[in-house]
Each structure stands twice: as structure tokens, then as C-alpha cells.
Symmetry: C2
């Protein structure tokens, strides 16, 4: 038996929560998984597809008796949801979350956590451009990282249990300080998303390039951007508002670098461009070596067979 | 018999040329395919892996007797290569190319084309982040677009033959004016590549985020950027220098939009962000409907199984 918790409650039933449910079931990590979503439509869908052992009509009902309660709602909704379910928390339970920003979530959620309940923020670095209760799948977290961001005084036993759950769902687990987490993610995820959103918006605005041409001749590069820019609008709005400082700092640096490359193009400085592009190619090699992607040729249309 | 040409010469043996060879062989589109690459190492590799029916030690030798000569070298080398092989061109032959920029290639190559030889520039919208003679595969062009960019007075029979070749290699074929081509590609490919290169460079420069962290926690978004930014440095240097005006124009618009989104983040204008992200999500749907990508969830690690 791989059971880590008797009962887990998933609050919010989107891509991450639904993937967690299937991953928990795959490995038998919980006795029962309850679920709650604010919208009736989502709860109906969850019941129809068998998402969660029991779908509840309130966050409190899902929370009652749970050993682990995971907040899987957009970052901007975390505080309100925590306030709502806090009175139903069992003494000794653990509250966690899956938000892409950690400092803002901690500030919003921690004040609502009663004494005797553990709060261990977490962030699984996994996702797709799809969202909603039907988008989850059991292998989403396989070989991806989940970062735990506990406070200094946090209970080591509670941390260990949560770590075991994430490992059981297929993740590698590491710990990180909340502010450092927010900076790292601004670089690796938040700024790239905003940039992809921007480029896709520019393409859409160009009147001389008709929509159909942009779409029909969507070449390597742009296709990958549209995939990123198809991510859940509410989730990402909240991410940028909640990680404002780090995102704006990285975007400032990005703009500086982009201006330098634009100047090189304007001046015809081929050596500068070539050196820059050679350096970035190395970083890609590092990512493949770190096992976070494969070497298979792929430009936005999935695996391309080699022969 | 699907044969379109008795003899095809591929000048330059990288990703595109090697994929063309395998695609031509798959469909039996040519009697013989000759090949030439400037570097001895590439020619040795080609001979070792059976790339081309005959690998030649000069561009002239590969060109002699060919009915179609395809220039598959970086955009900046096209003029020199055309000048080199022009004296060997057979009367009635067709010269084409696969460059990502068309106006600059036409200006560089056209003056070298002798009377009685057809020049039909082309651009297959296909690629991966890999390069070199061993990176090609026969299905690279399947269901992708190849744009033909002939001059007004070009021979319709020569155009029709080249179209038949590209269709035989799996492509859809369309025609476009060179300047419009360069603008469309600046939007869909060139600007996105420069942006991806820039973001990966920024990540590399950040001293507070160690290399290993950026790589280890390379989340959705950044991983896709590193893939784009791993593309061939020489090819892309030439693309930016050759399509300077359109690329700089698009980057100017990009910067404007990015500043507007940064301002929305700074001011906490969530409605602006949400509207913008909702709009970009629609564009993604259009691309999937146009068949240029699949709906399979994928964030840079190839197809992810749904169950």
C-alpha cells in the first residue's frame, strides 16, 4: 500500500487538480479524494467523468475530515478560498496549494490557517495549454519538478508526507525560499508567457498580414508561441499581478537585450548575432542533459519521427 | 512513376537538403540526386550515410546536367554559390532555393542566372532545431507549406514542375510576392525567433538565478523558447540581416505591445490582461483548425499521452 493520506481534498478542479486525482489513483496514495469547484457546471462534469471519489457542493464539505487540503484555484482566489474553508479544517491537517507564485499566496493564505494546522505551499512545474476538469491526465507530473516552499518553522513530518505524495504522483521534489522561487519562475515561466502572449497579439493586430495568412503559414517559432499563449487567461492574469516585481524586473532586462540585438541587426553586426545565438544553443543542450526535454526534433507539432 | 526531374542537384547538405533527398527518394521524384557541400566533413558524412546518389566535390560538378538545382545554403551565401555554379547550368534548367528570406535572395542570385535558365525561388515552411546532414528525415515537409515566389515573367511550365516536386515531397504549395513573403515570415517566424533567443540570453545572464536552476526548473514556456533558440546560428544570423526592415518593424510593434502589457501589470489592470490573453487563445484555436498543429497537450516535451 502506497497510501500517504486517508483523505485528500482538492479545492478547484482544473488541469492540475484533475491530474492530481488521476495520479493519486494510479499510485493509491489516498484512501478517499474529495473535490469541490465553485461552478456547478464543473462539479457536474467532474461527477460525470468520475473525477474525485466524492464531489462536494461546498469547500467546507470537501474539507471536513481531510488530512490534506490542496488549493488548486487561480492565485488571486487563494485567500478567499482559504478563508472560506478554514473553519472546517481538521486539527493536524495540512493545507497546501499549487499556485505559480508563492510570496503572494503565502501572504493571502497564511493568516487564515488556524493554529494546529500545517501550511506547506507547493508548486508543481507542470502544465499544458489546456484547462478545466477534463484536461487532466495521470502522467502530467511524471519526471517534472514540484517545489515545496515551507516556512522556516514548518513541521518536518507534514513536509515529509507532502513530499511523499508528490513523489508518488511521479514528481521530483525540491525545496525553495518563496522569494527566490518567484524570481526563478519569473525567468523560466512568467516572462516567457507574457512575451508569447505579446507576440501573438502583435500578429493579430497587423492588418497587412491577414489572419488566415498568419495562421496558414504559422511557421516554426510562432506556432510554439501560440501554444504558450493559449494558456488559461484567468490563471495567468493572476500570476502576473501576484508576481509583479520579479516579472517586471525580468521584462526590463529582456527589453534591454532585445534592443541590443535590434541594434546589431540595424548595424549589420553579424558577429554579435552569431555569438549570441551560439550561446543560447548551449543552454538548450543543458536542458536536454538535465532530462527536462528530449532531443527529438520538434517544432510545435509533437514528436516528429526520425525515419 | 512519379518522376518530375531526371536529375536534381542539392547545393548545401543541411537539414532541408537532406530531408529533401529522403523525401525525393520516398516518392521517386528524380532519376538521380547529386549533392555538394562546402565542407569536406559534410561531404564525408553524406557519403557515409548514403545521402545523395552522388556526392560531388564541387558545386559545378553537382550542377552539370541537372534539370533542377536547389540552393540550400544560408541566405547570406546564396549569391556567392549562385555565381560559382552558374557557368555549369544546363540550358532550360531551373534554379531554386530554400531560403527563409526571399527579396534578399532574389537580389543576390538573379543577376547570376544565365538567359535560358529559370529561377523560381521557394521557401518550405518546415524545420526543426537540429541542423547538418544527419538531421534530415523524409517526412519533414508532410502537410507543411512551401511558398513559391516566382517573378512575374517566370515560365509557367518550370513553376508547375517545381510545384509537383514539392507536392511529391508532401508539401502544400502556394505562391506569394517576395516582399509580402518577407513581412509574413517576419511575423510568424523571424521576430519570434529573435525574441526566443533574447529571453534565453537573459536567463543565461542573470547571476542571481544560477544556471542549474534555470535549467533544472525550466518550466513550461521557457523550454519552448530554448528549443527555438537552439536553431542554427549561421542560418538565423543571415535571416535577420537579410530581412532587416520587416523584422525591425515587427519588433517595434512588439515592443509597443509589451510596454502596454507591462503597464497593465504595474497598474494592476487585470481586466486588460484577461482580455488580451483571451484574444490570443482564439488565435491558437485557429491554428489547430487550420491543421498546422494538433490539439494534443504539449509543453515542450513532445506528445503527452492523454491516458
Amino acid at each position: 500500500m502506497n497510501k500517504v493520506y486517508d483523505r485528500v481534498a482538492l479545492i478547484g478542479l482544473g488541469l492540475i487538480a484533475s491530474s492530481m486525482f488521476w495520479a493519486i489513483k494510479r499510485a493509491g496514495l489516498a484512501g478517499e479524494v474529495t473535490g469541490y469547484a465553485r461552478s456547478q457546471e464543473t462539479r457536474d462534469t467532474a461527477r460525470r467523468i468520475g473525477l474525485c471519489d466524492r464531489v462536494c457542493d461546498s469547500a467546507s464539505e470537501a474539507t471536513e475530515g481531510a488530512d490534506l487540503v490542496v488549493l488548486c484555484v487561480p492565485v488571486g482566489a487563494m485567500g478567499e478560498v482559504a478563508a472560506d474553508l478554514a473553519p472546517a479544517l481538521k486539527p493536524g491537517a495540512t493545507v497546501s496549494d499549487v499556485g505559480s507564485v508563492k510570496r503572494a499566496v503565502i501572504d493571502a493564505v497564511a493568516p487564515h490557517i488556524p493554529a494546529g494546522v500545517h501550511f506547506i505551499p507547493a508548486h508543481p512545474l507542470a502544465g499544458t495549454e489546456h484547462s478545466g476538469p477534463e484536461s487532466g491526465f495521470e502522467s502530467l507530473f511524471d519526471n517534472r519538478w514540484c517545489l515545496l516552499v515551507p516556512d522556516k518553522g514548518a513541521d518536518e513530518q507534514a513536509i515529509a508526507a507532502l513530499q511523499k505524495l508528490w513523489q508518488g504522483m511521479g514528481s521530483n521534489v525540491d525545496r525553495m525560499d518563496p522569494d527566490h522561487h518567484d524570481l526563478v519562475l519569473a525567468v523560466t515561466s512568467h516572462a516567457p508567457h507574457l512575451i508569447a502572449y505579446t507576440m501573438v497579439g502583435v500578429a493579430d493586430d497587423l492588418s497587412r498580414v491577414t489572419d488566415s495568412e498568419v495562421i496558414q503559414y504559422s511557421a516554426a517559432g510562432f506556432r510554439d508561441f501560440t501554444r504558450i499563449a493559449a494558456s488559461d487567461p484567468t490563471m495567468w492574469r493572476d500570476v502576473f499581478l501576484a508576481n509583479k516585481d520579479a516579472t517586471l524586473e525580468i521584462l526590463g532586462r529582456f527589453t534591454e537585450e532585445l534592443f541590443a540585438l535590434q541594434r546589431a541587426i540595424r548595424r549589420g553586426d553579424g558577429a554579435h548575432l552569431h555569438d549570441y545565438f551560439t550561446r543560447t544553443r548551449q543552454i538548450r543542450r543543458g536542458i536536454i542533459e538535465a532530462g527536462q526535454d528530449t532531443d527529438a526534433p520538434d517544432f510545435g507539432r509533437g514528436q516528429t519521427p526520425k525515419d
